[in-house]
């Protein structure tokens, strides 16, 4: 009578069973740092006098927040990461031009397997639940402990079951589904909890879509989001990871703190309004809000599926004179695939700016920072005050479909009414 997360944590801690609330120590299968958090981990690693990492093949180091370096300070962080990777002979170091956004490459490059316990010094590490792994974000100091020992303590979380059935209407996406969940649970509604997504809608959902909903688990306070690995997962993993995998499935009588039942059939496109992710309304209710910038990208919505949807809408259309559209593929691989499929050309012809894979505008770091008074519609995951730049700017969160249609109109627009040419 255990759920997926309990089964994974039992295995990793060498226990027969674990119960919510219990504190366990687990073996870590893979650990990820980016340059923002990694430089602190490296500093602490040296400070305590550690000499060698616990396993040079199980640490993934990524430069993603500010690439290429946009300032001397950013370049210094990159240098610290590069030197440590060389000195410790870290097998997987993704330098500028080699990787992209950490969460995308962790899955795309096969660093995560179903059943793994993965930690990352970044809150959106919860993304990897999309392929049936338990993954969660930790801080830099704890990561130094992981670098040294390969182990970490966890409190076994209570779980919330989210059952979704039915089919999305055209231009309604997994992003809209998660915004619905955020509206119901609120920004701390799943604090310390695991979110398990299931039902026919999730079965039919691509790995990209599952990544989007697991990615945002942290936005309701979740420790992890997770989807049971199935045929779709195995198909995706072919050529990326070699088995055997530990495929955990929740027992029929697994226990959950609560269950949400949702239907995808009548879900409208949703938008999260400033300044909180749970301030969610149907797009139709906020139609007409004028936009200075539209951003399509990030670890939430910067994958091929998102870019294809964007291109389908942008093809033959022009971005409104009133706004600017910025598109950033989540990784080098996504960029290359988009190029091969002709999507990049469609974007450029529509008047969009396409930038190299990086977090960029998502956290107000570089490439598309907002000025005071500006309004942005973004496919990212956070709309806190000042998240994308000036504390006097405003951010709305929505799907790539809503973003693309809104970019053409120059104001927030419901994509389900979009007819194209």
């Amino acid at each position: 009578m255990a759920n997926i997360i309990e089964k994974i944590l039992s295995r990793a801690s060498g226990k027969k069973e674990v119960t919510p609330g219990e504190i366990i120590e687990a073996d870590i299968d893979c650990a990820m740092v980016n340059e923002i958090t990694g430089h602190l981990t490296i500093k602490y690693f040296h400070e305590v006098g550690a000499k060698e990492v616990w396993n040079k093949d199980r640490i993934v180091m990524v430069l993603d927040h500010t690439i290429p370096a946009a300032s001397v300070e950013a370049a210094e962080l990159h240098k610290i990461m590069r030197e440590f990777a060389r000195e410790q002979k870290i097998k997987y170091f993704y330098d500028v031009g080699r990787g992209g956004i950490s969460h995308q490459i962790m899955i795309e490059k096969g660093h995560v397997k179903p059943g793994d316990v993965v930690v990352g010094a970044d809150s959106h590490t919860c993304t990897y639940g999309a392929i049936g792994a338990f993954s969660t974000g930790i801080g830099s100091t704890e990561m130094a402990a992981v670098f040294m020992t390969g182990r970490l303590w966890f409190k076994v979380p209570k779980a919330i079951e989210i059952k979704v059935n039915g089919n999305f209407r055209k231009f309604v996406t997994p992003k809209d589904l998660f915004l619905k969940v955020a509206k119901i649970l609120g920004v701390s509604g799943a604090n310390y909890r695991g979110l398990e997504f299931k039902g026919s809608t999730i079965k039919d959902m691509s790995i990209a879509g599952r990544m989007t909903i697991c990615n945002m688990a942290i936005e309701v306070g979740g420790k992890a989001g997770i989807v049971e690995a199935d045929e779709k997962t195995l198909e995706y993993l072919k050529g990326r990871v070699n088995g055997p995998f530990f495929i955990a499935k929740s027992d029929q009588d697994a226990e959950y703190e609560k269950t949400l039942e949702l239907n995808a059939d009548d879900l409208p496109p949703l938008v999260s309004c400033p300044d909180a992710v749970d301030n969610v309304k149907p797009v139709s209710e906020v139609e007409g809000v004028e936009l200075d910038q539209v951003f399509i990208g990030s670890c939430t919505n910067g994958r091929m599926e998102d870019l294809r949807l964007t291109a389908e809408i942008l093809k033959g259309n022009k971005v409104s004179d009133k706004t600017r559209l910025l598109i950033i593929p989540a990784s080098q691989d996504v960029f290359l695939d988009a190029l091969k499929e002709g999507l990049i050309e469609i974007f450029l012809l529509s008047g969009a700016t396409v930038a190299n894979p990086t977090c960029g505008a998502c956290y107000g770091g570089h490439l598309g920072v907002l000025a005071s008074g500006e309004v942005c519609l973004s496919t990212t995951n956070r709309n806190f005050i000042g998240r994308m730049g000036s504390t006097k700017s405003k951010v709305y969160l929505a799907s790539p479909a809503t973003a693309a249609v809104s970019a053409i109109k120059g104001r927030i627009t419901d994509p389900t009414s979009f007819k194209g040419d």
């Binding site: 923002i36 958090t37 430089h39 602190l40 500093k43 602490y44 400070e47 305590v48 006098g49 550690a50 927040h65 500010t66 300032s71 300070e73 950013a74 210094e76 962080l77 990352g120 010094a121 970044d122 809150s123 590490t125 974000g137 930790i138 801080g139 830099s140 100091t141 704890e142 130094a144 402990a145 040294m148 920004v187 701390s188 604090n191 310390y192 306070g221 420790k223 909180a276 956290y363 107000g364 770091g365 920072v369 956070r382 806190f384 005050i385 000042g386 998240r387 730049g389 504390t391």
Partner: protein, 162 residues
């Protein structure tokens, strides 16, 4: 383990972008980070941060895993944070870097900015020395108290690296 300080109040959902905005993530010196503590929501915080005890509502520290958030508070002179509840990663990070955090439901309504507070980390007792009222926070688990006592996880690692 008693802590004395003066109250600086905030509401619910004080996220890590408010505590230390993303654009400062390129800074490596904790003292430089501290100059921008709480800048995302209250640019005047640094004028009152010395010996501050932040008293806040629900879900303090939600958002990013950036340890720079509790670090900027600690180096700004903030002594502790007492909130109705904390976001998970911030809570762990604060303990790991040695910034005391306590959960207490009713303190926020019992204090005003500038009140003198005394916290007893060992048993969770909180006394408002200005109004002479007392309340009780959730006592910290033993292993967390131990971590705070030795000054955070790093000091523990130094001792155990062997």
């Amino acid at each position: 383990m008693k802590i004395l300080g003066k109250v600086v109040k905030y509401g619910d959902n004080i996220n890590t972008d408010y505590i230390i905005p993303g654009r400062y993530m390129v800074l490596t010196d904790p003292k430089e980070l501290a100059k921008h503590a709480m800048e995302g929501i209250d640019p005047s915080f640094i004028e009152k941060s010395k010996d501050a005890i932040i008293v806040a509502g629900k879900n303090f520290g939600c958002g990013s895993s950036r340890e720079q958030a509790p670090i900027s508070l600690k180096y700004s002179g903030t002594k502790a944070v007492v909130a109705k509840s904390f976001a998970r990663i911030f809570y762990r990070n604060a303990i790991n870097i040695g910034l005391p955090v306590l959960e207490c439901e009713d303190l926020l309504d019992m204090v005003k900015d500038g009140d003198q507070l005394m916290l007893d980390l060992r048993n969770g007792k909180i006394k408002n020395l200005t109004s002479n009222k007392s309340t009780q926070a959730q006592p910290l688990p033993e292993f967390i108290l131990d971590l705070i006592k030795i000054g955070g996880l790093l000091n523990k690692l130094k001792r155990t690296k062997g």
